[in-house]
Symmetry: C2
Subunit: 603 residues, 2 copies
Amino acid sequence: MCGIVGVIGKKNTTEILMQGLEKLEYRGYDSAGIYVNDQAGHDYLVKRVGRIKNLEAAVDDSIQGTLGIGHTRWATNGKPSVANSHPHISNDERFYLVHNGVITNANELKRQYLLDIEFASETDTEVVVQLIALFAREGLSAKEAFRKALTMVDGSYAFSLVDRLTPDTLFVAKNKSPLLIGKGDGFNVVASDALAMLSETDQFVEMKDEEIVALTQDGIAIETLDGTPVHREAFTVKMEEGDASKGTYPFYMLKEIDEQPIVMRRLVKKYTNDRGEVELPKPLLAALKAADRLYIVAAGTSYHAGLVGKGLFEKLAGVPTEVHLASEFGYNQPLLSEKPLFIFLTQSGETADIRQVLVKVKAQGYPTLTITNVLSSTLAREADYQLGLYAGPEIAVASTKAYTAQVAVEALIAQGLGEAKNHREAEAFDVVHQLGLAAAGQQALIDQKDAIHDWATDLFSQSRNAFFIGRGTDYDVSLEAALKLKEISYVQAEGFAAGELKHGTIALIEQDTPVVAFISDPKTAAHTRSNADEIAARGAKVLRIATESQSSEEDQLVVDDIDPMLAPLLMIIPGQLLAYFTSFDRGYDVDRPRNLAKSVTVE
Amino acid sequence: MCGIVGVIGKKNTTEILMQGLEKLEYRGYDSAGIYVNDQAGHDYLVKRVGRIKNLEAAVDDSIQGTLGIGHTRWATNGKPSVANSHPHISNDERFYLVHNGVITNANELKRQYLLDIEFASETDTEVVVQLIALFAREGLSAKEAFRKALTMVDGSYAFSLVDRLTPDTLFVAKNKSPLLIGKGDGFNVVASDALAMLSETDQFVEMKDEEIVALTQDGIAIETLDGTPVHREAFTVKMEEGDASKGTYPFYMLKEIDEQPIVMRRLVKKYTNDRGEVELPKPLLAALKAADRLYIVAAGTSYHAGLVGKGLFEKLAGVPTEVHLASEFGYNQPLLSEKPLFIFLTQSGETADIRQVLVKVKAQGYPTLTITNVLSSTLAREADYQLGLYAGPEIAVASTKAYTAQVAVEALIAQGLGEAKNHREAEAFDVVHQLGLAAAGQQALIDQKDAIHDWATDLFSQSRNAFFIGRGTDYDVSLEAALKLKEISYVQAEGFAAGELKHGTIALIEQDTPVVAFISDPKTAAHTRSNADEIAARGAKVLRIATESQSSEEDQLVVDDIDPMLAPLLMIIPGQLLAYFTSFDRGYDVDRPRNLAKSVTVE
């Protein structure tokens, strides 16, 4: 359940819904559906399994109206199927509901109130729409029935509801899942993401958790769940420029890999002044200086960027740093230091697992910083401080340039903070020079695409599993390189601390198991080589990638020298390209791997 | 390169070497070899690939002598083969050398000094023995040639060297790798582990790093590498009783799984007094109270036990705790708190990755505690404090009862420390009662072996990969259950934080991918169920294991209730049994999986 849109008061409702869903497809693409009502007695429901384009093929000119809702789904409860697609309908065919989120007590509600109802789907959403219909049959108005249902559900939701009997109103509500209202002249829209409605308006009204809103052609009536009216001004969303077309590239991912040197240079410009000194916003710098420990909270690829950040913040700024998985931190909060500061790393700024942490630590009064590629996102808006990644739109589901941008921004912050604290290591470090080395070294690797393509074919074309090993930041890179290969080529790859493999997992090594070893740090290069030899002694096919000063004649790929703290900015490039070419060679849809969504808006 | 033995002055040298190697087989079993010299002009060299039993079959009564060395190998440099087996010989056939460890500059030494030499093997060890021979040809005595070579090698070693021209002396030296001298009446022995020589003597002399020792029938002459003589007294090793035979069990692992309830009860007795209060050694308790942060350092299964310990120490004793992989910590030490205390978790007490951390943090003056199953081990001897696991000998390479013992000992320490600090949570917690619940709950699970066997067949018999998911301590268990399956059944299993899977790895889920979900904590049960549903919606075959109070009708296995902090003591039992039966069904040697060694004595 992932992306929702709604429109009231526009003649070309169907077109707006379809365009909006296309923009939201990054939130899931297991199935999609729309419901359109012409407020004159005709209405239409169309649902299809798979991509938005399948739905498009099924929508013709006869489907016209002035009120509509739409949905693109990432399956949580129940398989991808037409029956489980949204919009869901009450058995009396009065209510139509789309939903993003997970209702955790759906089964209990079903058992308690809806034993007589025959369900058409396996979804938690249908439980809610049947419940609304039940309360309406018991005499409540549509809005009151909706409100009563909302007070009873546990979990996360963004809902958009149509009552066929009152098609002059669109009802919406949210809790934990994102939903924005777009305000127009003679119409209103709603969507999970401003992006989906930017073609219609740039005026947006924020919705807060546990509010219920009735939208009409000309009005936006917000109330809390207990009925208190709320007045809230609109704000303007300015989208950053960015070429979101893939041009001559076969897939966005390859284009985005190629953009990384440009992003490095752009970040240096954004974060430094004419004298080449890092400049951070003063209130943020003061908050960072006041913190006795940093807590980086993230998920997936951003978590791997956070691991690199720990070394940067500890070494360059002398501040102890912990890195936590967002989904774990929220429910098992570790003991915190006296003055913690939270850093949230998120490409989209919409990750639900991070949002629940943000809500909890803000309630405890701790300062928060969101580092994101989307400065208009929920997590950017809700944190005390926000910094941009300026990587431009990232369309491919597998993140590449956002990862290197996160590492670079962490380095810039660490240097700025270290200098402000007169920390010796920061004064001896030249982040501008290092990011310049990164950009040049990335370009040199990108220029070796064909050789890397050959290794991808040699290593992974016949393989169902793979290992990536390294120590220190090479271990961090190993985790990220393995995730890339998993996400888009479905090879079960694992990243390992090179010294840890022998404590069990080395049992999986057999003849021709592919292993990639990253070697960039003089402190540990000899040890990682020993570990690679141990594995090779057991028959593995080992690809060794080393920085120039650490390289040896046995290495297949030599990477420019760079400070080991920032080696991931270079080492990940072959990792990304190996994953890309493996997926490409297998004929997969590189940009849209199965089961995944670009922005994970459920816990 | 893993286990070495040596004898001088005994008539039944061959027998002693073979018995010692059998005891050392846990350190590796890729190949084995012995060299025996009768000090009267006859000598014998026998080497075989594979288990000690292969070597045994090749050793007959004709092989007799009074001086000998032996080796059982875990391959690091070079494949398992007769050529790569130890003892290695110099080309002039004068020197015979066995080695445990890794020489990291072997290739450079070869290029610099031995360009003319034709090598018989791919090993670093042969480089050293050829180097010794070279220095001897240049005029040095055997001892001086050995000493000169030792000053030039980088890395880790335990060496035992025989010079055919002076067969009245056995030369030994160590650095980072373990080696003990056993002192006899008219004979002396050396071995990687006291266990291998206990049948001959209970008097042992410790060797320190970078010492060189000349052993004769009646003498032990210890010197430092720079030639300073060292006098050191012998100490007595008392072995703990323990039935190390597997009786009617097909494999040790099953016996050791079954012993876990007994170990829980034994630990309660060992660590509590008659009033049921935890009693810790007073100096240790004082050191723990003085610490402002605990650093648990471990590898493999012990690392997973450490993750559970973090929650116990933070909640019951209110002391912030970090858990680190030993192989990473040593070379990338994080910023430490002002008063850290280090806890080393190791079944064998010989893990090289941990030892290098211990040496470094002791040099920094920090207090250290080793928790181990072998109180006579290197890491127990060298730490400031040591506590036992009292699990009895663990013979199977895949650790089971040592894991649950580690978790239980952590709980006992946390409770003892929390009570000493008057920490509210410790006073509200009853560790004795909880460990009683653990013992009873473990027994109840062990009694359901047959049902768990059926699930293992159903889930894993056709499968090359698998996932284990959970949140909080169920996540810790997921990591350990996945490692068990990997180690002995070679299924590529991964443990995941239930909320993290959707951030990428869920792409690997396809029809019938086996997934095991652990659900024990009321705080997160609903969320983990949602994650399990997301995965099931994509076709996975999900086995749900829940504690009684969190269980639902969809769960296949219900486990007794226990405090969620200690849920791993129960949840891991089905994890261990699923791995055992999968390996058993496939006809593998459950106790001795390929590529692994019980005790990992190289970095």
